[in-house]
Amino acid sequence: MSSYDTIIIGAGHNGMVCACYLARRGQKVLLLEAANEIGGLAAKREFFPEFQVSVAHSISHFSAKVAKELNLESHGFINPSCSLPTVGLNRNGEHVVLAHDEGGAASLSGVSEKDLASFKNYQTLMYRYAAMLKPFWGTVLPRIGVSGISKAMTYAKLGLKLRLLGKSDMREFMRIAMLPARDLMDEYFDNDLLKALLSWDALIGSKMAPRSPNGPVVSLLYRMGGDFEGAHYLPENGIESLIYSLRSVAEASGVETRTNFPVEKILIQRNESGLKVEGVTMPDGEIITATRVVSSADPHRTFIDLVGVENLEIQFANRIRRLRSEGYVAKLHLALHGEPKFNGLAGPEGRMIIAPTMDTIEFAYDDAKYGEFSRQPVMEVIVPTRYQSELAPPGKHVISAHVMYVPKMLKSKWSVDAREEIKNKTIDLLAQYSPGLKNLIAHAEFLTPEDIESNFRVTGGNWHHADHVIDQMFMMRPTYEAAQYSTPVPGLFLCGAGCHPGGDLMGAAGHNAAHEILKS
């Protein structure tokens, strides 16, 4: 007799979404979180007394279907009326600003008439493609080679959607889908800031730069499938409102959640009938049994650390080993005595991107891919206290920045000094855009990918668990034989960012996994 129908490892948003769906269908679900707090990379943490922030600092495409089905709004997850503007920062204050009004209409400022016209064409086309792909992010993509009408239908639908674009748009999609970001941007625009700004979402989080092949455009379209057509936003009560609303739904659905509960191993029964998941073991030896275990941990951690290679096949284990899941994004958190001022901006509004040209991004990447610091990093900056003043004491502020490219595997090895060095370099750069910033700093925290790996138990410190690259997406994510949420180990499922459709705060992986589990 199992004590639980399902044990879910990891109370990040995907684990919670999956838990909610299963519990609402009557399963007895236990959700285990290793950290003190639920939420994973979206958890709000105090990084300096009275200053709070989460590693994930904006949302671009949380699944509207999940929000609706789980009724998250009535539990406190409320979409804002408007998305965040994206600002391509310029040292002299001549910024490029991309904003959307309440009706969703885009406005672009700081570029030429020619770029403005191109942008309209670009946007129309990209939104058509994003809309075409959108249904498939929330669908289990069947295993190749498995027959069955419903499975064949999924691919038939994809083919049909593609065909319905019309001949010229379809051909164009086939042409640009695999383009490096740089080729696409050069083709449409002249303005360097604009090009860097628009390619940002194609790259961030993966080991990719503007000249990288391997499907950055698909990754961009993935993010463009959100409620605000890809524009980032902050829910009314901040990122944590997503986590708290999921917790509230989970509680209401009867999910039992335990924090501070790190799973040591996935317990696997081994006998003449083969392998079967029995539950999990804790570091103190406690065993909790369940009919199935669903892991929202990354594939490497799930299979290699928690399952163990002795329970896996050799080629499968080596495909997990070869997943590209090395993080290149660091996180800078600043506790500030006052509001930072940026040259040429009335206030620190929106998502500010420091990447003057695509070459700046490329060169920053070149350094990092050989294990060095970027000589000139690029970054995405938000002042979350601008939208949520309770994250800091009155009048005080927080800066949250994603900094690229910071290699997980630093050639000279990570040390306190190495972290200080890149932290200071990042602050120096930021201060070039925000004079006076340094005088405001009460505390600075810099999380390297290695810190993210150890603090949040994410292999490589990679937010996406595995890069968003074409060979690790769709029915190849994380790798064949584990790409439909079930795994080669009977009773073990995946529901995290390492599954289709991928990372970011979206919840589709948790949703799709629950769908697949309930079907089986």
């Binding site: 002795e310 096949e313 050799i314 080596n318």
Partner: protein, 406 residues
Amino acid sequence: MSDSNTVTVDPFEEERPKETHFHARMAVLNIRENWAAWNGYKLANYFYDAEYEYFCVRNGCGTYDICGMQKYFVTGKDAEAMLNRMVTRDISEMNIDRVTYLVWCTDEGRLIDDGTVFKLGHEHFMLTCGSPSLAWLEKSCYGFKDVSIVDMSEGIAALALQGPTSCEVLKKMGLKDIDTLKPFGIKHFPFGASQDKPLMVSRTGFTGDLGYELWIKPELALKMWDSLYDAGEDYHIQPFGEAALNMARMEAGFIMPLMEFNEALKTIHFRHDHTPFQLNLDWLVDFKKPHFNGRAALLREKHDGPEYTLVKLDIEGNKPAEECNVYSDKGCENEIGYVTSAMWSPVVKANIALAMVKTKYLKGEIWAEIYYNKELRSYTKVSRCTVKEKPFWTHSRSRATPPLPY
């Protein structure tokens, strides 16, 4: 043009077959200079005459150089777990100083290679196989914390001694109690001036008869050869090459890579490789073991039955059925398989072959279309084949301990 005073560099040095640890002695005896190569080492195809060497192995004893065989030390706390996950047989019950024959497969249950595992200590195994396998072993080790692989292929000199007089020769060589060594057992012996026991002998081989394999460090290789040949003088000891080995192993019904099977990691065409079930190696697949590589796929294969099965054929007439196809009818209209190895067996006095035949046709008639050549003229004949269940040839002394004196 190089003048005689300068040292000339051989531009093909890397390309030339290397000489094994026994080469100095074998080169003298290789009257025909007929060398083949195995994993980069010179190996005699035959020394004098293949049939003569075959008769020496069947009636006296012969030595076969297995320096070219790949040998890996697998050591560490996780060595057993790593090997047991890799191979289809269960090695967890093996005793120290025992050898076992086994195979390993891809995730899809396709045969990668066959070989033997020697258990030399609780955390010390030696894996031997025909082809370099370091890449696969490294993959197989991934994720195990305490296991290391050392390629000992160069570091151990190995010689097979096979045939009815082999035990007597080793006795005469001074290997005390060698006759108490059981099949697939290992014993260690003093040799030369060394105080420890540098000579390892396993009762293993590839001829179906009584036989041993001798393992020693390279610096003692020639000394061991000499003392073996001194002891064997009156017992018809003779080196034999690949050709004679192939005859003996076929009679014993043993499979050979590139004849009976393709290594799965080296085939290009989909399913030009094989499963253990196709090769009649079901007995090496232990489903009682909870997990091993390819288990799920092999369970399906067991359930569905293999499409082809390797069978032993006794063929009418005396023309070896080399490289021919087999049919379900005398008119040769319905092709049902192909011969993998064939020969006229002198000891069985029969025209024998190993063949891959579609399993569903095994109960019916099997005809081989044989092509042969007589004084430059080509002929074809169709011969009836009979499936044999047992090996074509075996001898009770190969299993008896002690083996009866010959």
